[in-house]
Amino acid sequence: MKTVKVYGPGCKRCEATEQMVRDAADRLGLEVAVEKVTDAKSIAMAGVMSTPGVAVDGKLVHAGGLPDAAKLDGWLTA
């Protein structure tokens, strides 16, 4: 099972990103643990400078703006 972390202080786009991850996992029938990281320190420690950031299994794959849906599917199935 993959662990996806969504980094963001709680802005609208961060919530939208989290929802995108959940929707994509449902659609692909994957079991994914989604964790939302809102603490500024943890966000910075992960190397995210523009939020929302997305990490899959500890590896940062995206930062800044909503992720592209097709790429998101790719990260989840990789």
Binding site: Y7, G8, P9, C11, E15, A16, Q19, M20, D23, A40, K41, I43, A44, M45, A46, G47, V48, M49, S50, T51, A55, K59, L60, V61, H62, A63, G64, L66, D68, A69, A70
Partner: protein, 352 residues
């Protein structure tokens, strides 16, 4: 939200030509609409049962002309900026600045502050990202001041509503303040006034994101998304700002304006800063007010000071930065930037 995500998922691949054709077409429509602003707004005003030259008539005319004008200008500016900014990112900017320790790190940071896309909601991770990569505190401040201060939205609106002369003055002085304030803050050796956890933080080598290859259509799409996002957020500020501007334009007597914001009243400059700092709006909301103030004879220096303090120093942003800066550092930051704004205000009131 769900519709938005679907929107983005759909047009991949073959639809690029839609963008190459659609954007110029939208540009032509934009141009035609913009040309019709005066006749249409005068026609709308004439529908109201008030005399055109009465207070109310003047206020209505101001409102129905400015609202569509500002929204059209914003659409154009935000789109172009969105496309241009797609070549920049906070990660690239950090890489550029991290290597620069010499004096012109400051103007460089101010320039990149204007070009790099970032929203105030991520200013804390961005601040930490910069500082932990070894970018000096002062250079980081230059970046953070320039972003909102000389944002393209504000400049574009100033150009459209007030004229290119004042837009240029604003650009030059806003940029200078960002550069000098960063330089002064850097010289003060304020690192010890960061919050403790920030000083101890050592993020080490940070996540390297794979470089994204964007086609021109991708960049145009980014521009269009920016328009939807930013206009969706600021239109209400625009309407409120123009309403206030319209009231000033229609009702405030010129003599009173000259007394309060005229060049003679020296205290008007600090007063403008004191009023401006806690005001929370953005460039799109404040520039219609600036337009009305200048039209009524307010002194340029006072008006510039008001505009700069509203845009560059905002209380909510300070509250966000409280997570990484101690109150003491925030106070010094506000003081240094205010000095720059005051100097600009006095200079222009004396010169003109």
């Amino acid at each position: 939200m769900t519709t938005e995500t679907q929107d983005q998922a759909a047009p991949r691949g073959g639809s690029d030509w839609l963008w190459y054709g659609g954007v110029p077409l939208a540009g032509v429509i934009w141009w035609l609409l913009y040309g019709q602003l005066i006749p249409v707004s005068e026609w709308v005003t004439s529908l109201f049962p008030v005399a055109r030259d009465s207070h109310t008539g003047e206020a209505i005319a101001f409102f129905v002309y400015d609202v569509p004008k500002v929204l059209l200008l914003l659409t154009g500016i935000v789109f172009v900026t969105g496309v241009l900014r797609s070549w920049f990112s906070p990660e690239k900017t950090r890489a550029i600045l991290a290597g620069k320790r010499v004096i012109w790190g400051y103007p460089l940071a101010a320039t990149l502050g204007v070009l790099t896309p970032f929203c105030s909601c991520s200013s804390v991770p961005l601040f930490i990202g910069f500082v932990s990569a070894g970018i000096p505190l002062g250079v980081t401040f230059s970046f953070l001041i320039a972003g909102p201060m000389v944002g393209p939205v504000g400049l574009g609106l100033l150009y459209g509503l007030v004229g290119w002369e004042i837009a240029t003055v604003y650009l030059v002085f806003g940029f200078t303040i960002a550069t000098l304030a960063g330089f002064v803050l850097g010289r003060l050796g304020l690192e010890r006034y960061l919050q403790e956890w920030v000083r101890e933080l050592n993020t080490g080598p940070v996540g390297d994101l794979p470089e994204e290859r964007l086609t021109l259509a991708d960049r145009l799409r980014i521009g269009a998304e920016q328009v939807r996002e930013i206009l969706g957020k600021v239109w209400i500020w625009v309407v409120v700002g123009i309403s206030i501007g319209a009231l000033i334009h229609g009702y405030v007597p010129q003599a009173m304006m000259l007394r309060i914001m005229g060049g003679e009243a020296w205290w008007s400059v600090p007063a403008a800063v004191v009023v401006g700092v806690p005001m929370y709006t953005n460039a799109a909301g404040v520039i219609p007010i600036v337009e009305a103030l200048l039209g009524k004879g307010a002194a340029l220096g006072t008006t510039l000071a008001f505009m700069m303090s509203v845009i560059a120093l905002s209380l909510p942003e300070m509250i966000i930065l409280k997570q990484v800066l101690t109150l003491r550092l925030i106070a010094v930051f506000i003081a240094v930037v205010s000095m720059g704004i005051l100097a600009t205000g006095f200079l222009f009131n004396i010169l003109l």
